[in-house]
Every structure is written in C-alpha cells, then in structure tokens.
C-alpha cells in the first residue's frame, strides 16, 4: 500500500525499527538520504529508496560509506535535512566525515544499527559501539548527540526529534540502535509534525545573491582560530549537556538495586525487573535515552546502600559513564556479553540475587 495512503488511513502501522526510523525521518521532512548497503540496516536504505523520491527528496546509493557521509555533508551545507544510515563497520568508515560535519557545524542525522565487532565481526545485534558514538568517534575535540531508542515507536519518535535537535544546535545526531531493534516489528503510531521551513538556515550555501558569500568549513589555520572554534563548540556542548539529557526511571523511589540498560538490552532488563517486582523484590531501573549527553542526574543515590547493575551487549562501555555519574558514592556492578551474546532475563535475575 502506498505510504501516503497508509498514513491517511491508519493511525497505527506494523513496521520494523529500521523502517520506523526511515518513516520518522520522512515525517520530519528529511529531504536527502545517502547510504550504502550493510546488514542489519538494509530495510532502512530500501525504505528510503522507495519512499524518498515520492516525498520529493533525493536518494543516492553511494559508492562507499565515505562517499555517503560526505554527501550528507554537502546536502546539509546546501540546507537540506540530510541523513545516512549504516551498521558498525560502515560507521567506522564514516568517522572522517562525521568529524568534518561536527567541525563545520552542519546538522545531520546518522543511524547506527549496531552489529558485532571488532573488524567484520558478525551480523548479530550488539552494543559495542557505545564508546565510538559517545566520545566523538573521529578525530578532534567534538561530540555528537546520541539517542538510543528502546522500541520501534521510540525509534520513529526519536528519528523525528533528531532532525529538530540537529538543526537547533547545528550538530550531527546519532541514532544508536542494534540489530534486534532494527529488525523487529512493532505497531507504531504515526504523528507527522509540522515541519519548520528549511529557509531558516541563513548560513547555507544557496548562491550569494543579495548577501555576502557563505563559506562552510572546519579549517581554521590562523593563530588562535581553531582554539576559538573549539571553545565555541564546547559552549554549545555545555548547553546541550544542560538541556538535552533524557532517560526513563522505574521504581527509583524504593529500589535497592537499580538496573541500568539502554536500547534492546533495556527491554530484556525490564522483563527481569517485572518478574522480580512480582516476587516482591525492590528493583528499579534507569534507561538512558540520550547516551550523550549522559543523564547523570538520574544517578543520585539517596543512600549509600543502593547498588547499580549495568547491563550491556558489550563488555562494559556505558559502565564507565555510570561509574562517573555515581562517582564512588554507590556500588556499581556489571553484567555484559558481546559478539552476539545477549544477557538473558535469567542471567540478569541470577546476577541481581548474587549482589542483593
């Protein structure tokens, strides 16, 4: 069924996480997409190939991840709402471009549907690109906003929100999902927002008629110029740290042990939590939604007896942010598997009972 017709006739549709991100992007007025095939995000590029031209935008299957991210750079420089998507090895290739985009302060959205690494790894879901996503990833002193959806609905919502954040702060925004989130199907309530006109970008390259020429660049060779640019970026990052943290808390008022997990891992952790709460155990949960900026304010242990259990599909990457947030004021434990391994409900419950 045609996308437009479906949007009119149904408020809720059943789609995969990959398709939901594409759908959310189109609803946000994304008018440029360039990508390169890689599993497990192929539904996204396929969806864009099908629907972007119908929406009046530009779709390009690039010759490489390098070309794709540099096309996003160009499209964004020309004022478009631009996006690319990939999975872990492809995101590594894009890092050069992401660094340039951050330096040139271009809004853009980059989707990473994570798979196992290092190297070619495998195509199983993973969360082992957390460091790369939250620490900049490429060269230079920069950050990207990183959002981690925990459901297909949230993938759709955050995809829309990403474009607003990218434009507002002139910053690359990374949507960090994993192979399960990308592939699984759930009902999604569509909510196309009113799109702000794109001509609110006076810095964009449109031709210099009636104004001074615009230049898009990250190069600052003159003495002191790059330090000045970096300080400007840091000021922007500080505003983002204050305003754009997001998380979901559960039972934080009475919890003795707080599970900390994001994305798909948080779904499994929540199932464990439900079972333990039904058994009368005082378990809570924090699900960071913004991974950068990290929601430090969620970690304010009321007593020193509270314990945190960080659970990841990696060998402990978000763990370091939790340790920094807790700052030695409470015990932080860890449970993680990687390379396709996923901590199960039972493994989580067993771990909780060991540390209770």
């Amino acid at each position: 069924m045609a996308r437009e017709k479906r949007q009119k006739e149904f408020k809720k549709i059943l789609i995969s996480g990959n398709e939901a991100i594409a759908e959310g992007a189109l609803a946000a007025g994304c008018d440029f997409y360039a990508g390169y095939p890689i599993t497990p995000q192929n539904e996204l590029i396929g969806y864009m190939a099908k629907y972007m031209p119908k929406a009046g935008g530009v779709f390009i299957q690039a010759e490489s991840e390098l070309a794709a991210i540099n096309m996003v750079y160009g499209a964004s420089a020309a004022g478009a709402r631009a996006m690319t998507s990939s999975s872990s090895p492809g995101i590594s290739l894009k890092q050069e471009g992401i660094s340039y985009i951050a330096g040139a302060e271009l809004p853009s959205v980059i989707v990473n549907i994570m798979r196992g690494g290092p190297g070619l790894g495998n195509i199983a879901p993973a969360q082992s690109d957390y460091f790369q996503a939250t620490r900049g990833g490429g060269h230079g002193d920069y950050h990207t906003i990183v959002l981690a959806p925990g459901s297909v609905q949230e993938a759709y919502d955050l995809a829309q929100r990403s474009f607003d954040l990218a434009d507002k702060y002139r910053i690359p925004v990374i949507i960090l999902g994993d192979g399960i989130l990308g592939q699984m199907m759930e009902p999604v309530e569509l909510s196309a927002k009113k799109i702000k006109p794109a001509n609110l970008k006076p810095w964009a390259l449109t031709g210099c008629k009636g104004r001074k020429p615009n230049i898009i660049k990250s190069f600052a060779l003159a003495e002191g110029a790059l330090e000045k640019l970096n300080l400007k970026l840091q000021q922007k990052y500080n505003i983002i740290k204050n305003k754009e943290t997001r998380f979901k808390g559960l039972f934080l008022d009475d919890a003795k042990i707080v599970l900390v997990a994001y994305g798909t891992m948080a779904r499994i952790a929540k199932s464990s939590l439900t079972r333990m709460r039904l058994a009368g155990e005082r378990i809570g949960m924090i699900r960071p939604i913004s991974l950068w900026p990290f929601p430090k304010q969620a970690f304010c242990p009321r007593n020193k007896k509270i314990k945190y259990l960080v659970i990841e599909m990696s060998y402990g990457q978000m763990l370091e942010d939790v340790q920094l947030a807790v700052n030695g004021k409470a015990q932080v434990e860890f449970l993680g598997r990687s390379g396709g391994g996923i901590p199960s409900e039972d493994q989580i419950i067993n771990k909780v009972r060991k540390i209770l």
């Binding site: 440029f32 390009i60 010759e63 390098l66 070309a67 540099n70 420089a77 898009i216």
Partner: protein
C-alpha cells in the same frame, strides 16, 4: 578611455599565499573570469579541496564549501542534487582527485552528475612538501622518490582523464596547460565549455590543467613552464579527450 582589463568581480582583492610561479593563481583567475562572463557568480557554489588550494574560498567571491581530502565530488554531488538551480564545481589537485579521492571521482563521473571539475595536475603534492603524486612523471625526483619515480617501485603516472573518458556518464574532458599565453587562452576556453555544459544540463565535465610547481620541481618559474612543454605534456598530451 575604455577599460578593457580589470580584476574579475568573482575574485577578492587580497594578497596571494601561493609561491612565486605557481599555477593556482592563474587557474583561480580563469575560473573567476568565466563565472563573471557567464553571469553566474550569484548562483555558483565552489568546492575547495585539501591541498595548496584549500583556502580557495579566500580568493573567490561566491559561496564555497570545504571538502575532506578527496571527497569534493561526493560533496558536490549532494549540493547539486539538492539545489539543481545552482552551478556547482570542484577544484581539486592530483592527490585529491586521482589518489585519495579516486573512488569519489570515478563514481560521480560515472553517475553523470551535472557538475564541473577543475583538475590541477602539477605532478606533485605541494602543500605537504613535494611528495610523489599519482601523476608524478617516471624519473621525477620528489621527497618520497629521492632517486626519481621508478615504475617497478611506484607504478606509472596515472592518466585519470583518459580513464574517465571511458565512462558513459562523462560528457566532456579536455586537458590544457598553463605553460604559455596561447595555452592559457585555450585553458580558459575549456573552462568556459565545462561551465556551459553544466548550464545546459549536459552532464559531467572535467578540465585537467597542467600547472607549474617551481617550489617542488626545484626549478625557477620560467624553467617550470618549459618543463611542462618539454616533459609533462609528452606524458599528458593536451587537447580534447572526450
């Protein structure tokens, strides 16, 4: 009295950072003159490379973007697709267009993107200190081929213009030189053609310009022009390639 020669409107009146005898200044000016003549300054978007011409936007008075090393034609592709009403061109050196950016170059050309590429071939990496370029001549001494380029160790000068001419998506390719005034006029005519092609939606156009680099050729400016005439154009014959 009628004034018949002046600084192009598309060129800022600022001191140059290029070395004495460098060809970039001439090539920048030719591009600026053609943009003025075609009356497209206010809708032109230029893409500067990484290399000696990295700050070309300090000289050209129209919208410009930087691109990462080698990625100019990927950046240009997206800008042109998003804003087909604008005139978009790249200005790239031999290392940028024919080494690190070979993939982007070939695929933008093969897609037949309606773009103009100005390709400066000076057979050497200038900005980084005169290392071997893909277009360095056999026997040419550089800071990374101290005994001269040896085909057994370094391969042959890459003729990317001839390679691109094989691609169905490519509309126009011409190789020109800056080694004397007659050749400069031919270069200007080729640049004009490459921009007119884009205005007429004809597809991908590239002008390769053999350009002197006295500093890293170890020659004075006059000797550099003669070196293009006597050596470089034998390896890279001038004229219309496609």
């Amino acid at each position: 009295m009628e004034r018949i020669f002046c600084r192009p409107e598309s060129l800022y009146d600022v001191p140059t950072h290029y070395c004495p005898g460098c060809g970039h200044g001439i090539a920048h000016r030719l591009v600026a003159e053609i943009i003025d003549q075609l009356g497209i300054r206010e809708r032109t978007i230029g893409i500067a490379p990484v290399g000696c011409a990295v700050v070309a936007y300090n000289y050209w008075k129209f919208d410009c973007s930087e691109a990462a090393h080698g990625r100019a034609l990927a950046v240009a592709t997206a800008i042109k697709r998003v804003r087909p009403q604008n005139i978009v061109f790249t200005y790239q050196g031999d290392g940028d267009l024919a080494a690190i950016g070979t993939n982007e170059t070939i695929h933008a050309a093969n897609r037949g993107e309606n773009l103009t590429a100005i390709f400066i071939n000076n057979a050497v990496y200038g900005m980084t200190g005169g290392q071997m370029a893909p277009t360095t001549l056999l026997g040419q001494k550089t800071s990374t081929t101290l005994e001269g380029r040896d085909r057994k160790k370094h391969g042959y000068p890459l003729k990317i213009s001839e390679m691109l001419a094989l691609l169905a998506g490519v509309h126009y390719i011409e190789r020109v030189s800056l080694h004397n005034p007659q050749e400069v006029l031919k270069a200007k005519a080729a640049i004009r053609q490459a921009f007119e092609n884009q205005i007429n939606n004809a597809g991908f156009s590239l002008v390769e310009i053999l350009s002197p680099c006295p500093t890293y050729w170890g020659l004075n400016p006059k000797e550099s022009l003669d070196w293009i005439r006597d050596h470089m154009q034998k390896e890279f014959p001038l004229g219309r390639i496609k």
